[in-house]
Amino acid sequence: MTSLTDRYIWAAVRTVPESERPDLELDIRDLIEGAVEARTATRHDPAAAERDALSELGDPERLAADYVDRPLTLIGPRYYLDWLRLLRTVLLIVVPLATVAVLVVQLLTTGSIGGAIGSAASTAITATVHIGFWTTLLFVVLERSGTTDGTVQWTVDRLPDVPDHDRGARLSEFIASLVFLGLFAGAIVWQQLRPAVRDGDGGAVPVLDPALWSFWIPWFLGLIAAEALFALWVYRRGWSWSSAAVNLLLGLAFAVPALLLWAGGRVLNPAFTGAVGWDPAVAAAGGWKAGGIVVAAVVIIAAWDVADGFLRAHRALAHPARRLSARR
């Protein structure tokens, strides 16, 4: 027995389970010797015939895989689409959530913006790699475990909606809203937990009156959560008269208590105004009171936001058939 044939057989059988090796070895040896015999019978010298025959048989691992029906793909066509869908869904849900969660927690606990962004980015990368690896590993095992009924049966009910082309534009608004609301809520919590201002004894001084925590700060945090849900609703369904009306209610629920509290001087922490030596009720340069500027700003922003909602609803309803005409 010559060494090339033995080496070829070993290269082939070592890739299959121990129990199948003797059988496979006999088969492949029969195959090689048949091929060599056919060649020596005609023209070749034995060494060249062997080399020629083995070259024709090709990669021994591929031959062995053919013999034992082992897939030569990591994830074959049977599972590929399920793998892709699951991976996409899990990545889109988990990575943003984990990243934002780490960002907020790091901001609150360390107070360093750069460090928080770094941690969040590293979390995003780690989560992506882990999800990619474990999801793929699951499907690689499925592909090789030989179960046949693991795939989800496709039905017409799973057809996606025709893409709403306004939705892509709304996505950036949605993300911007979430970021703004997150920063707003974070600022409210942060000024209480890690105030920047210290009083004479070195004690922390929150900007907002701590008495507001009994009702009004939870009210505004709840409103921020409601605004986030509202942003999601608008992102998914677009502007309509009902969403503009809800926007009006949310705007009133924010602006009216905020203005009343401000007018009653109940927003700022007296200890804070004392510590920084600033009173909004005192006229600043030009005769304007800072308090009046704040009132004007809140009124203008709230009114603009409400009007903008109705304008967008009007525009969206004036062109209802954008969906299919935008199809290309």
């Binding site: 006999l26 088969d27 492949i28 029969d30 195959l31 010797e33 048949g34 091929a35 015999e37 056919a38 024709e56 048989l57 090709g58 591929r62 031959l63 053919d66 013999y67 029906d69």
Partner: protein, 114 residues
Amino acid sequence: MSRDDDLTAGHLQELRRGTVVLACLTRLRTPDYGYSLLESLDVLGIQVDANTLYPLLRRLEKQGLLVSEWDTAESRPRKFYRTSPAGDDLAALLTDDWDRLTASLHRLSEGQEP
């Protein structure tokens, strides 16, 4: 040019894929060993690579369409394959279908509408 050749080769391969099974089941009604089967198919113009044929024979054996035994009488052991009764039935069925397809394709190319 070579892309056209690849295209042609691909279509030919698609067309011939199932016929090797039918050829083996038909030919092995007379017992034979692997390499001799390969050569006799080659002579008939049914080209198949050894590294395709041998795993195919093994698969057909697992499916109970072929039976095999080792002939140890000669200088080296050789595996003989023979079509089983189940393989024989399948070969008859496949042949009928092949004939039906051939007739249909002829009718198509002659422009006969059904």
